[in-house]
Symmetry: C2
Subunit: 493 residues, 2 copies
């Protein structure tokens, strides 16, 4: 067996254990009774250790050396590049740093759940200090290993091939037009009448409605499920993708669009190249590209006039006892495009969302690069919230820098993916429209032409291309913010 084949076989073995981790994690988040949590957590920790041992097995170094001498096809070379990337990321950190960060992160995250409610910055800061410190050490080691700046080395974990120099350009562009656009849209929307949901929307009915919309979006129910969890997610494995939502019985619009979003993630997973299943080449390209698919479904497809027409029709069918004016196409469209300056990222609308992300990016970049201290964060946050959204978070940590889970366990470098995803999605749609009658497909309810384009340009590529090549081959140019701007202008003005 060639060294390359040995690496692939080993990767599939690791993937089998990751499969079990994904299913046990899904179970824990959806159906596990609370009393099962401790034993489950121990079992999953044991599995993590085993997976880490496999991923850093001593024979891998030699196999990589040999494989690089072997004659490989272009695809195999790409697969080898991704295998090596994963291996280097797993091996570059010393074990004691990995453990220390994991411990500090768990402790900080656990305490944060209460500290956030209590607006307790002092308590949080005491734990977070260590998380930041260890993350800086991690960034330093990763930076030395691959010759990047410290923040870029962290960014590389989520967005391989992207760096802060490119992000600075993209986000600087956005900052020139976003704040004034937000003001203009809010002003314009202030005169619109809006019917808000009242009464009860049964969860079972919401689920039925959601599943019909998933069918419209051609979710493959032979290879996936819809369930409930406190925090919606897309999990499982490509042959069995598990998406979740949460239902609020006082309205249906949130869970419905949440299901559309997760369906986008799910179809990417379901559409990944089977030939490379169980290896990194058969996985999603990056967090940003993953988010581009969920946001393509949510923002580009489902918030279009034509698709909202479908949602209106289906909602009226399922909620026939409710006021139909709530579910008119016009009213649903207004509900789904309402813009509001507010504190909380996860509740933000399409237009203000990038402001939340750019603020976090600027702060975490300075923090990881060692240009600011973690104690500087609240004031910086306040300044930037004032500048981008005109809101003060002074002494309001809970709705300020303590609102997100990401920083509590040191996932620095993740936030840009959200806005990169929105930008990619807009650029993909613009490219798709050159060859596909997108509006006609949505109007007809037969969306295959859209999915065929995504499948051949994005899903089927897995990680066989680097991100820049993926985007260039799909759209003819590198990522730039102009399509995103154009999309927002035409939707909101």
């Amino acid at each position: 067996m060639s060294a390359f084949d040995q690496l692939v076989q080993h990767s599939k073995k690791v993937s089998n254990f990751k499969h079990l981790a994904a299913i046990s994690g899904w179970d824990q988040a959806t159906v596990m009774p609370s009393g099962g949590n401790q034993a489950r957590s121990e079992a999953m920790a044991e599995l993590s250790v085993h997976i880490h041992q496999l991923m850093t097995a001593p024979q891998l170094g030699e196999w990589f050396d040999k494989a690089q001498q072997e004659e490989l096809s272009n695809e195999q070379q790409a697969a080898l590049r991704e295998l090596k990337r994963e291996w280097q990321q797993a091996t570059v950190l010393p074990e004691d740093l990995v453990q220390a960060k994991s411990l500090a992160g768990s402790k900080c995250e656990h305490a944060w759940r209460k500290q956030r409610v209590d607006n307790d910055w002092q308590g949080f800061e005491a734990n977070w200090s260590e998380v930041v410190n260890l993350s800086q050490q991690e960034a330093q080691i990763r930076a030395e290993a691959n010759g990047l700046t410290r923040y870029d080395a962290m960014l590389d974990l989520y967005e391989p091939g992207t760096n802060s120099a490119s992000l600075d350009v993209l986000f600087a562009d956005v900052k020139t037009w976003l704040p004034s656009l937000i003001d203009q849209v809010i002003d314009q929307q202030s005169s619109l009448e809006l019917v808000s949901p009242t009464g009860q929307f049964h969860r079972a009915t919401q689920k039925q409605l959601g599943m019909e919309v998933m069918q419209l979006l051609q979710f493959d129910f032979e290879h996936g499920r819809l369930d409930e969890s406190v925090h919606p997610f897309c999990g499982g494995v490509p042959t069995d993708v598990r998406i979740t939502t949460r239902y609020d019985e006082s309205e249906f619009v949130q869970s419905l669009m949440g299901i559309v979003h997760e369906t986008g993630h799910a179809r990417y997973e379901q559409g990944l190249p089977k030939a490379w299943a169980g290896t990194p080449a058969g996985e999603a390209r990056s967090m940003g590209i993953h988010e581009s698919q969920s946001l393509f479904f949510e923002m580009q497809v489902a918030r279009s006039e034509a698709f909202i027409g479908h949602l209106a029709r289906l909602a009226q069918k399922h909620f026939a006892e409710h006021d139909p004016s709530l579910m008119s196409r016009t009213n649903l469209q207004r509900l789904y495009t309402q813009v509001k300056k507010d504190f909380i990222r996860v509740d933000a609308d399409e237009l203000t969302y990038p402001a939340h992300v750019i603020l976090r990016y600027e702060i975490e970049k300075a923090l990881i690069n060692g240009e600011i201290k973690h104690t500087d964060v609240p004031e910086l946050w306040d300044n930037k919230m004032q500048a981008y959204l005109g809101l003060s978070t002074k002494d309001n940590y809970r709705n300020g820098c303590m609102q997100d889970i990401h920083w509590t366990d040191g996932a620095f470098g993740y936030f840009p993916s959200y806005t990169l995803g929105a930008m990619y999605a807009a650029q993909f749609m613009a490219a798709m429209k050159k060859t596909v009658d997108v509006d006609g497909a949505i109007e007809s309810g037969e969306l295959s032409p859209i999915f065929n384009w995504l499948s051949s340009n994005i899903w089927q590529k897995g990680s066989l291309l680097n991100t820049d090549n993926l985007v260039e081959q799909a759209t003819g140019e590198k990522l730039n913010a102009s399509f995103f701007k154009q999309h927002l202008m035409s939707r909101y003005l």
Copy 2:
């Protein structure tokens, strides 16, 4: 760390991986979409290999040698005995035999699913021949290792400490009175009027009813769930026990009693000693003792007049739109104690069930001991069915020797557990009644005194006692068939 502690720590590691196997298996049987099956089976096979490697790790032999020299408490000695038993069972077979049997078993079982429908003995026999052959080899190796006869070495896998000499005595006893008792009861029941279910019994309502009965039986929903699967089972782990049932909407009596049965299994698991969790000493004593708990719930408690009164009341509440005479106490009692000579073990009633088991026991014992050939089985089956239940299975393989899954993959030695369970259950009830007002507890609906007895005499013992000691300490004597006979006489005559 002492060698004993090392063994315990290693066992808990293995147990963590078994936890993941249990949950993935539950998922596969209950919620997994069909398209996920291949990747899941591969992941679970990988996990099995890993578990087997851990259980046969080379350092264990030395640890066992050392541990046997260490000063251990009585409980620790018992725990060490069970650890060693498990280790020996895992290590005694050569790898190639394990793999060959697993392969032949999978092939035979897979083909059997269709062959049984087709009544295709020739086709089945061709595959089964190899399964029997490999099982005989397995029995031979196990017999040499522990000085038992071949069949007893297989029996030991499911019923440690039991042997065919004792089973011969127990079953010979049963055979003296069971056939005539069956005839007498059938004759007596022929004049009884019976209201059969008609109309539709919605699965959601059946589930609600089932969950209320589980509450009456004090199932701990903080540490377990009820779900649906094609073949009902009790799975999961002691901190998170997953029971399943299947619903037939044309009636409710089967699923309801099925839920009671699995709840018995579940409460045993939930009640196992936490101090030994993750080691064999903290596991169920044997398959027969496990079945004794499910049958205690199903046959001893739930088919009592008083408990059927509760079932009648709850059924009438949930199925208020149905004919109440169906759900009268008397009618439910008649439905739940109807005796009928028939071909299929899994559909058999309490009274004819032992005949099905004894028949299988006698055949598999002769087969594994090499006294008969596998091609002799159909004729032997027919002879014994004629003798015990007056039915011919000539040329009727599908309802004869091809009806069970157990033999298809070589699980020889398992069948006796069913009837041992029924006998243990009867003996436990007789003993319990000496100190507990069982009828009063059931009548009142507050069943704690019953569960307290089971908990302290059975559940909390795990595998810390051998089976004989467990039964003697709980009931004052060794297992014998008289309590079972007495129970059947007083219920059915």
